[in-house]
Amino acid sequence: MLKSSLEAQNLIINIIKCEYAVRGEIVILAQRLQQELQSNPGSRPFDEILYCNIGNPQSLGQLPITFFREVLALCDHPALLDKDQTHGLFSSDAIDRAWKILDVMPGRATGAYSHSQGIKGLRDLIAAGIAARDGFPANADDIFLTDGASPAVHMMMQLLLRSEKDGILCPIPQYPLYSASIALHGGTLKQLEDARSKGVTVRALVVINPGNPTGQVLAEDNQREIVDFCKKEGLVILADEVYQENIYVDNKKFHSFKKIARSMGYGEEDIALVSFQSVSKADWFTAEVREQIYKIASVNLCSNISGQILASLVMNPPQEGDESFESYVDEKDGILLSLARRAKTLEEAFNSLEGVTCNRAEGAMYLFPRLHLPHKAIEAAKAAKTAPDALYARRLLDATGIVVVPGSGFGQVPGTWHIRCTILPQEDKIPAIVSRLKEFHEAFMAEFRD
């Protein structure tokens, strides 16, 4: 008797194996609670769910950059550019930029499929932005614009992983896109000697800088070590640099891996590097391999045009002298300074809790406090067949409406427990979060203290 095709047991094993905690179980619970709150206000000791599980700033009240949205709106509806009133509603440099962008689009058609790597004129702009950032030339042909970084990561995993004998070195803790996409594409996540001793061919190294969930910014020496290591071992560097603009400490700066490698004198013969931003960039491949990447990209035709335009704006923001420059800088600095403040406040709050230690968030958008949980809590988790940090996160949600991701979703040294919490709730909500967190933690410890 034939089993019907889409039964779970017939599913690809890789799908079953892959996990993505950032939108996993705890989030599904939170969504249910949110619905409960809507239909039954007052049913819980809190009036709203605070999603601190995901780096999704605008869902928590952060405002978009005005200049970017002006340009996007004009490109979405170019008929506006022919109207007199437009000059009253939009800044003049936004209007100029929209014209410039439309001029690099064939037929000024913003609704057409573009070149599969992204519109050439926009890639030129992005290359110029990268060159300005790093001080080394960048080539539009090495750039692939994608619907977010995830498709680019998937593409790389598809290219690299031939079987489960292929491994990718990942930091622990890591952002679970990597573990999930490795599982999905049938590979293995590994540490180097361990891997090789088990007959695994290690193909690439993932490095997330600034780190997610850990928030550390790599020192240049560290980066040079990594480049040399990968060169020696023949590994591709997969450099996730999506948080490059989020740095909160004065003693650290962002240096792209491309800049580091170039400044060490390395070129395309020496090392293969893929850098992911909200734009994705494939550097220093042979023409043959780039052809294969292009081919895969072409099956999906192209990435969404608004996103491509936005990427070109992010890499080429208003300059001094432009009408929007001051407001752009105000908005940007306002957000970054506020993030730095929130990072500090929440870090201090976590460190003030009994049994909790929290490293400084040098960058990115997260705190990853370590929970030294009492024995009783660990036993209770075992009995409930859940990880201790998942138990803590669940209790936190039930008591306060705050949603965090258990550290087990990111990987951690065995026997240690963490949660990942974003620093994104608006500043005026932070005091309430801190007090609810403290209250909850005290009650939790009172219940489970040894």
């Binding site: 034939l2 095709s5 889409l6 039964e7 779970a8 017939n10 690809i12 079953i16 892959c18 993505y20 950032v22 939108r23 995901i54 869902s59 952060q62 978009p64 005005t66 949205r69 996007l72 709106a73 979405d76 509806h77 008929a79 506006l80 109207k83 009133q85 437009t86 009253g88 509603l89 037929g107 058609a109 913003t110 609704g111 057409a112 499929y113 599969s116 619907d147 977010g148 995830s150 998937h154 598809q158 690299l160 031939r162 896109l177 999905l184 690439a204 023949g234 591709v236 491949f285 043959e288 391999v289 294969q292 081919k295 895969i296 072409s298 099956v299 999906n300 035709l301 192209c302 969404n304």
Partner: protein, 480 residues
């Protein structure tokens, strides 16, 4: 020691992938364009690239959503009609933070609800928003489904020949087996259930577990619209053989004849009643890229699941969540497509005028092209009943096939390259879609502007008839 991304050590499945739509012909055309030659790109169903204008209403709404500060401006009513303003507010209220926030990984619930309502109006049966997932274009959804189904190279997918090469590419990428079933060119590209059975049985004899069947309705590249009876046969077949049906219905708005209007596979399935309606697993795909919208660059699409077990749906959700969410502007375009201006709305009459003009013109162009091809020597072309393409059969004389071999090219690639070099018309050779052995085609779109069509067809005819003159055996070919 090989370095990580050296060609020799990358995934073989990637190397096996072929996607002719942006393959050799397109790359050559792009080269020629760089050299200054005027190229008419008819290789992709990309209406706006060939001058089709976007519909006004959706662009107004999305612009307002991109820049919500406009909604607060007292002058906004002078720039935008009030229904666009209202609709922008409506969509913004459905988001949690505007266009810049990740949405639910399945797409904004409010828009999925609009899609469900559209499906219910279209088919007369209720649809569940929980089983509708929005994706960055329909292709992403197709790839996700195939990735979910294919476990190894023993898993086979029944795919029509000719087919849109997304299917063959995805099957290669995921390491599965493509099981072809031939469409009947002499019967207007009709689907013969016996061909289907034969293909299935052959595959099974070769140790392949056939898991799913793809239909593209209206067809790409063939344009045929399946009859209700045909779809019913297919559904019965899937029921008997326990196949999941993947119904690519992205061209459902593009219908150029009245004998076979579009009827969704889901409608027919539910109309069949139990056991079929409760048992046959079906996934239906739609998009904002085609129809009369042509908003290819927005990357907006959805798939709807029918009779898929919840445990499987959970896994599909999980994989979708890794990519966090489909792009929000694309979702809004989709919402607008399934929920366009209604009679009485300020923008209604303009919307209808714009839409009708596009569809009427497409119907005309379908005829112009078909007739144009049929007037050429050694060319036979079925009428484009739907979709956006013309797929004429080019009866290449033996001498031409020889010349192709000498040049190291597949015969239809050879022909298409010569066509490109002579006329600037960039097509896709039929070998990119699959065809019977020794039978050659090319695919072109019907999208060039109506006023340009006569010149394009003249240009083609001139090239073709000269080509045939050069390579023909002087024995003459019969039309059929």
């Amino acid at each position: 020691m090989s370095r990580g991304l050296d060609y020799e050590v990358i995934n073989e499945n990637v190397k096996r992938v072929a996607y002719a739509v942006r393959g050799e012909l397109y790359l050559r055309a792009s080269e020629l364009q760089k050299e200054g030659k005027k190229i008419i790109f008819t290789n992709v169903g990309n209406p706006h690239a060939l001058g089709q204008k976007p519909l006004t209403f959706p662009r107004q709404v999305v612009a307002l959503c991109q820049a919500p500060f406009l909604l607060d401006d007292p002058h906004v009513g002078m720039m935008f009609p009030s229904d666009a303003i209202e609709r922008a507010r409506h969509y913004l209220s459905l988001t949690s933070g505007g266009l810049g926030a990740y949405s639910d990984s399945r797409g904004l619930p409010g828009i999925r609800k609009e899609v469900a309502e559209f499906i219910e109006r279209r088919d007369g049966y209720p649809s569940d928003p929980e089983l509708i997932y929005l994706t960055d274009g329909a292709s992403k959804g197709v790839m996700q489904m195939l990735n979910t189904i294919i476990r190894n190279d023993k898993d086979g997918i029944l795919v029509p020949v000719p087919q849109y090469p997304l299917y063959s590419a995805a099957i290669s990428l995921f390491g599965g087996s493509l099981v072809p079933y031939h469409l009947e060119e002499t019967a207007n590209w009709g689907l013969d259930i016996n061909n289907l059975r034969q293909s299935l049985n052959e595959a099974r004899m070769n140790g392949i577990t056939v898991r799913a069947m793809v239909i593209i309705n209206p067809g790409n590249p063939t344009g045929q619209c399946l009859s209700e009876a045909n779809i019913r046969e297919i559904l019965k077949f899937c029921y008997q053989q326990k196949l999941v049906l993947l119904a690519d219905e992205v061209y459902q708005q593009n219908i150029y004849q009245d004998e076979r209007p579009f009827i969704s596979s889901r409608k027919i399935l539910l109309g069949m009643g139990p056991p079929f309606s409760k048992e046959v697993q079906l996934v239906s795909f739609h998009t904002v890229s085609k129809g009369y919208w042509g908003e290819c660059g927005q990357r907006g699409g959805y798939f709807e699941m029918t009779n898929i077990p919840l445990k499987t749906v959970d896994e599909i959700y999980k994989v979708a969540s890794i990519s966090l969410s489909p792009n929000v502007p694309g979702q809004i375009f989709l919402g607008l497509m399934v929920n366009p201006p209604k009679p009485g709305d300020i923008s209604y009459s303009k919307f209808v005028t714009e839409s009708k003009a596009i569809l009427d013109s497409l119907r005309k162009r379908a005829h112009i092209m078909t007739n144009g091809f049929n007037s050429c020597r050694n060319v036979v072309c079925n009428f484009t009943e739907g979709a956006m393409y013309s797929f004429p059969q080019i009866k290449l004389p033996p001498k031409a096939i020889e010349a192709a071999k000498k040049a190291g090219k597949v015969p239809d690639v050879f022909y298409c390259l010569k066509l490109l070099e002579a006329t600037g018309i960039s097509t896709v050779p039929g070998s990119g879609f699959g065809q019977k052995e020794g039978v050659f085609h090319l695919r072109t779109t019907i999208l060039p502007a109506e006023e340009d069509m006569p010149a394009i067809m003249d240009s083609f005819k001139k090239f073709n008839d000269e080509f045939m003159e050069q390579y023909d055996d002087k024995k003459g070919y019969s039309r059929m």
